[in-house]
C-alpha cells in the first residue's frame, strides 16, 4: 500500500515519551501521597523521587520533537507554533497544548522539590511537594489520556475512532511510567542499598525494621512489580475490548482493525512486539515473582538481570504500541466513496 504518513516518527516518539513522563509523574505522586509524604513501607520516598526526576525530561523532549513535525517549521517559520498559545478551543490539540505546558511547569517544580540539598520526607519542601503531587495525579492522567482523545476525534480515521483507545494509552502510560522508575531504581541499585544501610545504622527507620537492608530494597521492588502487573493486566483488558468491538462490527472499523489481525500488514508488529514482548512476557515474569510473595509468603527477591530486562521490554512494548496505532490509523480509512 502506498500511503503518505502525515504523522511519522516524531509523533510516534512523542506519544510514547509523553506517556512515560505522565505515567512516571502520576505513579511518583501516588506513591508519595500513599506514603503520606513519608517513608512508609520501604524506600517509597526514593521511588517517588526517581519518578519525579524522570517525569519532565521525556515530556519536554517529546514536545520538542512535535515541533519538528510541523509544516510551518519545515517551511522556515520556526516560531509559528507559538500561534497555539493565542487560542483556546475545543480541539484536542489545543486542550493538549495548554495541558502539556501546565504539566511541564508542574513537573519541573515537583522535580525541584526533590533536588534540594538533604532532601528527606518531611523537610521544609514537604508542603509544596505534596501540593504538586495532589495536582500531579489528575494532570498526569489527563496528559496520558488526551493523546488517545486526539487520535479518536476523527470519523475519517476508523482505526483511531474508538473511546477505548484513550484507556489503552492511559494504562500504557502508567505501566511505562512504572517501568521507567524500575529501570532507574535498578541502575542506582548500589546507591539505593547504601542509603538504606545508612538509614538502618542511624536507627531512624520506622515500620520496616523487621526487614534487613536487602529485604527493604526488594520490598519497594515488590510494590512496583505488583502494580506493573496490575496495570499490564488492565492494558490487556482494554486492548481486548478494542479488538473485540472492532472485530464484531461491520464496515469501516472492521476493515481498519484487520491490519493488525492475522494476515494484516501490521499483525507481526502488533502481536509480537506489543502483545507478546511488551505485555505478556513482562507480566508473566513479574507475576512469577509477585505470586511467590503474595501466595507463598516468601521474600520477594529478583535477580539483577530480570530487574533490568523487565522494564526495558515494557518500554519497548510501549513504543511499539504507539508505532502500530499511529501507522495503522493512517493506512486505513473509510471504505468506498
Amino acid at each position: 500500500m502506498i500511503m503518505e504518513l502525515n504523522w511519522g516518527l516524531p509523533v510516534i516518539a512523542y506519544l510514547f515519551l509523553a506517556g512515560v513522563g505522565a505515567g512516571a509523574l502520576t505513579v511518583s505522586a501516588s506513591i508519595l501521597l500513599r506514603g503520606g509524604g513519608g517513608n512508609f513501607g520501604g524506600s517509597h520516598f526514593d521511588m517517588a523521587r526517581y519518578g519525579a526526576l524522570i517525569a519532565p525530561l521525556p515530556v519536554m523532549l517529546g514536545s520538542g520533537l512535535l515541533i519538528l513535525e510541523l509544516g510551518s517549521f519545515h517551511a522556515g517559520h520556526w516560531f509559528r507554533f507559538l500561534n497555539l498559545y493565542t487560542v483556546i478551543n475545543l480541539s484536542p490539540m489545543s486542550v493538549g497544548t495548554w495541558l502539556l505546558s501546565a504539566f511541564i511547569g508542574l513537573s519541573l517544580v515537583y522535580a525541584y522539590t526533590f533536588m534540594v540539598p538533604d532532601v528527606a520526607p518531611g523537610d521544609r519542601w514537604d508542603v509544596l511537594r505534596r501540593a504538586c503531587a495532589w495536582v500531579g495525579v489528575p494532570m498526569g492522567i489527563s496528559v496520558a489520556m488526551y493523546t488517545g482523545v486526539l487520535l479518536g476525534a476523527m470519523p475519517s480515521r476508523p482505526f483511531w475512532n474508538s473511546p477505548v483507545l484513550a484507556m489503552i494509552f492511559l494504562f500504557s502510560a502508567l505501566s511505562t511510567g512504572v517501568a521507567a522508575i524500575m529501570l532507574a531504581r535498578t541502575l542506582f541499585r548500589k546507591f539505593q542499598i547504601r542509603k538504606l544501610e545508612a538509614t538502618a545504622a542511624s536507627g531512624s527507620s520506622r515500620r520496616t525494621s523487621d526487614l534487613d537492608v536487602e529485604g527493604q530494597y526488594h520490598q519497594s521492588g515488590y510494590i512496583l512489580a505488583a502494580s506493573d502487573t496490575l496495570l499490564i493486566g488492565l492494558e490487556l483488558t482494554a486492548i481486548f475490548l478494542f479488538l473485540i468491538f472492532a472485530y464484531l462490527t461491520v464496515g469501516d472499523v472492521r476493515y481498519a482493525v484487520s491490519v493488525i489481525l492475522f494476515g494484516g500488514s501490521l499483525a507481526g508488529a502488533f502481536w509480537f512486539w506489543v502483545i507478546f514482548l511488551g505485555l505478556m512476557l513482562p507480566a508473566l515474569i513479574e507475576l512469577y515473582y509477585v505470586v511467590q510473595r503474595l501466595l507463598l509468603h516468601q521474600n520477594f527477591s529478583v535477580p539483577l538481570g530480570v530487574e533490568f530486562a523487565v522494564p526495558v521490554i515494557v518500554l519497548i512494548g510501549g513504543f511499539m504500541l504507539r508505532y502500530v496505532v499511529v501507522v495503522a490509523g493512517q493506512i486505513t480509512g473509510p471504505v468506498g466513496i
Binding site: 500500500m1 502525515n6 517549521f73 519545515h74 517551511a75 497544548t97 469501516d252 468506498g336 466513496i337
Partner: protein
Amino acid sequence: MDEEGLMDKSKAPSQNSRRAFLKGLGASATLAAAAAVRPASAATRPVQYGMLIDTRRCIGCHACSVACKAEFDVPLGNTRSWVEYVEKGEYPNVSRNFLPRLCNHCRHPNCVDVCPTGATYKREEDGIVVVDPDRCIGCKYCVQACPYDARFINPVTGAADKCDFCLHRVSRGIAPACVETCIGRARIFGDLNDPNSEISKKIATNPVSVLRPGMGTEPNVYYIAADHSDEHERRRGSYVRVTTHRKEKERR
C-alpha cells in the same frame, strides 16, 4: 471592496478580532457577490455556496485541475482539485467513469473541529471553509480529519491548503476557475440556500448524492450519477481500478 485587504490576515492581532474584521469586510463583499449570483431580494439570508457535478457530462480532460493549478500556483505534486478515473468490469461489460474531486465545504467540517489554532474556519457569510496560512502551524490534524483527503500541507507556505471555492473570484461575483473552464459544463456553482438558484433547482429535480455521507460532515458538493460502490465491488473480487491522478496514488 479590496479583496487583498480581506486576504491579509496578518494585520489582525487575535482570532476574534480577525473574525470580526473579516465579517465586516466579508459581509459587504458577499453582498456584491450575491448580487451577481442571485436576486438581491434574498440578500439577507445567509449564503451557502455549493457545487453540483454531473459526472455524466465529465470527459476526464483535467481542464479543471489545470485551471486550479494555474489559478493558485499550486506547488508541484499537490492538488486542490483533481479528477479520478474509475475503471471496472471484464470485457465486454466494462466502464470508465470520472469523478471530479475537491473540498466539500462541509456543513459540519471535521477539519474545523480539530484545528488547534483557529486557522481553519467556516465563513459565516458564505459557508466557504478557508485556511488562514499565517495562523496555520502545519500540524496536519485537519489533513488527518478530512474524510475526503481534500487537504495537504503546502510546501511553500508550510500551511494546510485546499480548495477555497475560488473565494477571490466568487466574492467578486465570478464563478470558480474550474467551473468556468469545464468544457462539458459538468459543474454548476451557486447558493444552496437560495431555492431559485440554478444549482438548487437542479438538485431538487435530479437524483443526487454526496460522497461518504456516513462521515456525518454533510458535504455541500453534490454529484449526479457518481458511482459509490467501486471499493465494495473491488472487495467482492471484481476488477476495479481507481486512478487518483494525485501524489497519493490510492484513495484514502
